[in-house]
Every structure is written in structure tokens, then in C-alpha cells.
Symmetry: C2
Subunit: 313 residues, 2 copies
């Protein structure tokens, strides 16, 4: 790895757990990182940003560049987009002030549709995607707790990796984030959905249970495995080959997480919008159109929608 890293101007749009964690890691490395913040703005300006971890020392960042608008930030080299998929439309007005000639847009959003959305509006060549395999919870204003994992799978929307893909990966690696350049961003998205569809889904549909409770129940574990196989089948029907061994691998990984509340469950329980369409809706629609079997995912999709309606919102 190169001894001297380039100094980049980076914006983080959507400073929830994911944005604060990865942006915070890059800021701790000495990069110029600007955070667009809403509710936590005052708190972070005064008290900084804390990244807690079970395994590593707590990182306490002071003098954080937090902003209320993207106009204040101006054009950047790289924009990390960590807004919820349900807030996607806000990007149409939030992003333009951040975009200069060579600005790369790296979306860390869950589910499907984020890449296409950005490509249509800001040009496909700008768009990169990062799949975060990480367990994080925002525990208080300006405080993110890292629970497990952290790896990013990084790819280009337009196709094969570019030199900049490797540059960004190197940046994350220097910041202590395992980051792997992937040959196919789309396949990587589906690989993540193999986890998100069952675990985020069952955590809501089974009445508010964490990953440990899912894996402690024989029927839910059985259904989680069946859902994983179904999502792998849908991905294959769409041309994204994923190995069947992923099912066992993900079960094993998930056992290692302990009693983890998936982000969708936290959203659901705290009354925030759940990324229903970007995760289950798109999986079912794309799978159906490709002629794949989608029954289990569809049942989950409709039950989650109904649960969100009953909760309100």
C-alpha cells in the first residue's frame, strides 16, 4: 500500500449509524470529512462524534465538520450516501451542491434501486455502490456502537472496477475498514439481500424478534434458510450467480452476532419508515418478472407492509 494517501474532500449525506461510522473512520484517518446532519447537528458540533466498539478502543472525534446544508459543504471528491432508501427522493435536491467535475457518488444504501436512481439523475459514470456487512446501532446522539463485522464490498455501477474503485477501497482499508473491490456490484447487492430478506424480514414479521430469537426457533430458522435459497434463486434468474453455500455461511455468521436487532426492526420499533420497497418489494417484483419462485419473499413482503400499516407509517 502507498505510504502517502491522497487528501480527499468527502461528504457524508445521511448521518445515521452507517454514515457516522464510516465517515467517522475516514475522519479519524485525517481525511476532510463533512457530515450533513439534522437532529444530531448541535450535539455533534459541541460534543463531537463517538464510535464505540466491543473490540476496539472508543474513538472520540472532536471538531467534527458538521453542516445543516450541502450548500455549506460545496463540491467534493467523494460523497458517501447513507440516507435511508425511503428518503431517496431528498437526494435530488441534496446532492447537486456537492457535485463537481470528478465527484464520485458512493451509495451505501440497502436494497435495490439506489444505483439506478443516482445514475439516471447524475450520470451513471459517477455512481459507485458499497455493500456494508456490518452491525451498528446508533445508541445516542452522536454515538454509534459497532457490534460486529464491518466489511464493505465496493463496486462500480457501470461495470468492472476502475482505478478510483481501488483508491476508495485503499482509503477505507487505511481507516481500518476491511474493503473489497467486487467484480459485480449487482451480485454483491444480491449477496447482501440473501441476509436482509430473511433476517430483517422475519425480525418484523415474527412480531419483533432479534437474530438470536430467530435462530433459537426451529421454524423461523427453517424459514430463514428457505428464504435464503429463494433469494439465491431469484438472483440466479437475474444472472447473478451466488453459491448455495452462502446459506450455511450466513447462518454461521449470524450466530456470531448474538442478539442483534436488524436495522429494519429498529426502524419499525422506533416508528421510523422501514425500507420495505427497496428490500422486499424490489426483490419480489424483479424475481417475478424473471420467472423465479418468489412465494416466501412475497408472503414476507405483504406481512411486513401490513405490519407497517398497522403501526402507522
Amino acid at each position: 500500500m502507498s505510504a502517502v494517501l491522497p487528501q480527499w474532500k468527502i461528504a457524508v449525506v445521511g448521518s445515521g449509524a452507517v454514515g457516522c461510522f464510516y465517515g467517522g473512520k475516514l475522519a479519524a484517518l485525517g481525511q476532510e470529512v463533512h457530515f450533513l446532519m439534522r437532529s444530531d447537528l448541535e450535539h455533534v458540533l459541541r460534543r463531537g462524534l463517538k464510535l464505540e466498539s466491543a473490540k476496539e478502543r472508543t474513538v472520540h472525534l472532536q471538531g467534527v465538520r458538521a453542516h445543516a446544508t450541502t450548500q455549506e459543504i460545496g463540491p467534493c471528491d467523494l460523497v458517501l450516501i447513507a440516507l435511508k432508501a425511503t428518503d431517496r427522493d431528498a437526494l435530488e435536491t441534496l446532492l447537486p451542491p456537492l457535485i463537481g467535475e470528478g465527484t464520485a457518488l458512493l451509495t451505501l444504501q440497502n436494497g435495490l434501486g439506489a444505483d439506478e436512481f443516482l445514475a439516471e439523475r447524475f450520470g451513471a459514470e459517477r455512481v459507485m455502490g458499497g455493500l456494508c456487512f456490518v452491525c451498528l446501532n446508533r445508541t445516542a446522539p452522536g454515538v454509534v456502537k459497532h457490534i460486529a463485522q464491518g466489511r464493505i464490498g465496493l463496486g462500480e455501477f457501470s461495470g468492472l472496477p476502475l482505478p478510483r474503485t481501488h483508491d476508495v477501497a485503499l482509503l477505507f482499508k487505511h481507516a481500518g475498514v476491511p474493503c473489497e473491490v467486487v467484480g459485480s456490484l449487482a451480485r454483491e447487492r444480491w449477496r447482501k439481500l440473501v441476509w436482509n430478506v430473511p433476517f430483517n424480514g422475519l425480525s418484523i414479521a415474527a412480531g419483533g424478534v432479534d437474530t438470536e430469537a430467530i435462530l433459537a426457533d426451529e421454524s423461523l430458522t427453517y424459514l430463514a434458510r428457505a428464504l435464503m435459497r429463494e433469494v439465491i434463486g431469484i438472483a440466479r434468474a437475474l444472472g447473478h450467480e451466488l453459491p448455495s453455500s452462502l446459506v450455511d455461511d450466513q447462518i454461521r455468521l449470524t450466530r456470531g452476532m448474538g442478539a442483534y436487532r436488524p436495522s429494519s426492526l429498529i426502524d419499525f420499533q422506533e416508528g421510523r419508515p422501514v425500507e420495505v420497497e427497496a428490500i422486499w418489494g424490489e426483490v419480489v417484483r424483479r424475481g417475478f418478472n424473471a420467472g423465479a419462485e418468489v412465494g416466501r419473499s412475497e408472503a414476507l413482503y405483504r406481512l411486513i407492509r401490513a405490519a407497517c400499516t398497522r403501526r402507522g407509517g
Copy 2:
């Protein structure tokens, strides 16, 4: 219809809502009906049996023949079996005292497997099945409330209808119960499952909702329809042709029921065993073995099992 009905000795095994309702109708007709009772025995011996109805006059039966054991009842011409499918094993000891030379066993049990169970143990030629399309609730000891419908589809386990099938149908008709002899008992069972799988299932899996709440929610209605189509597909794969128009018909019928709590939901909410295996388990297993698509039913099956485990029991 014949002016003089034969006088039959009839036993009702399993005197819940279904057993009390149909047995009570036959008793009101003047037939010799013996009820095997557990919790309601003393009450019914003293105060009789009440059949309430929104549309008809309340029938109050006094001097009801209620018994604690089947030994007390002795051999009968006809045995109505209305025990829960989850209590099926009890029939091995309950039935023998009721069985004489020509005794017919008519099971009114939900789901799949009851006919085969009786045929194996007591001879296939004895076994008749009745599919009750009826909304009933037991509202108090010895009190059954009739909410809607009431039709019985009556068939022979061994094949085509026999003279006795028509005799039993006639008996019910005289008692004011619409009763139709069906060419195929198995097909009739699947026709009923087209309703039970979605509505009994979603009432539990969606967190305790009645039929009106299911049909008031767009996602649950969508899923109910998809489940009906799936069950029709499973039935067809098993050789039981059912018309696709059943989906619309059942939705329309269900709208007419108002805020009906399916029996499985009542069982679930009152802490009684739910007929999970006889309904969803068997549908999924038989469908899977026949190569049919079972995904939606399987998701529901696993979620209901998990809900029952969480509730306890």
C-alpha cells in the same frame, strides 16, 4: 323428501361449537343424540344446550343426553366426530365403545389426515367426511352462537357417494342444515382449505386480526388471494380440480362474514392448541411432494408454528 325419517342413534364426540351446533340441530329434530362432553357436562345436564343465531330463533334444548364416557353411550348408527385435529389420538380409545356392525363415522374435522386416520384404525368403509362451511363461536358453557353460513359438504372416504350418504344428508336437511352430497370428499377438503389456509393463517400470522381487518388491509388481501391461488394449484397437482373463480367467490363470501374471528385465531388467543399440522403442515408437505409451488403457504406455516411456540403450546 320422505315424510318419515328413520330414528337414528347418534353420538357426538367433541362437543365444541361444531359438535354442539350440528348435534343440537339433529337433537332438535327429535333424533337420539348423545353428546360426549368434558368441561360443559354438568352445565348442559342441568341447563341444557342453547343454539343462538342472528337470523333464527334461539333453540334451547332441555334434557340433553350428555355423557362423560363413550362406554355410557354404547354402539351408535352414526358418530359425528368434531374433536380438534390436535386431539386426534384420543379417538383411538374414545371410538371403540361407539362402534357396532353398521356404524358410520362422520368426521367434521378441519384440515387433512382425519379420514386416513380413521380408515386405518376402524376400516375405510365406515368413514365419511363432512366439510362444514360455517361460522360458529362457543360463547359460554352450553351456548353456541351461529354467525353465518352452515352448509355441509358430505362425502365418502372410499369413493363415490353411497345410499347412506344421501340418508345422512337428508337427515341434516330436515334439521335445517343445508347439506350437499359431494362426488369427491378429498376435493371438498381442498375447497375448504382454499379458505382456511389464508384466513385462519393470516389471522394469526398478521398478529391477531379478524377477517374484516384482513380484508381492510390491501397487502393482506393481496396475500390472501395469492395464497388461495397457491392452494388451488396444490390441489390441482394432487388431482383435485378446483375452479379459479373460487378466489373471488371466497373473498365475496368472507366480506359477508363481517368481523369474524377464525377458529384458529380463537384457539390461538385462548391458549388452546392450534391445528397447525392438519391445516398448513399437511398442505405444504403434500404440495411439496406433488411438485407444486408452496412458498407462500410454507412461510405462513413456519410463522404460525413460531407464533405458537412463542405463545407457549
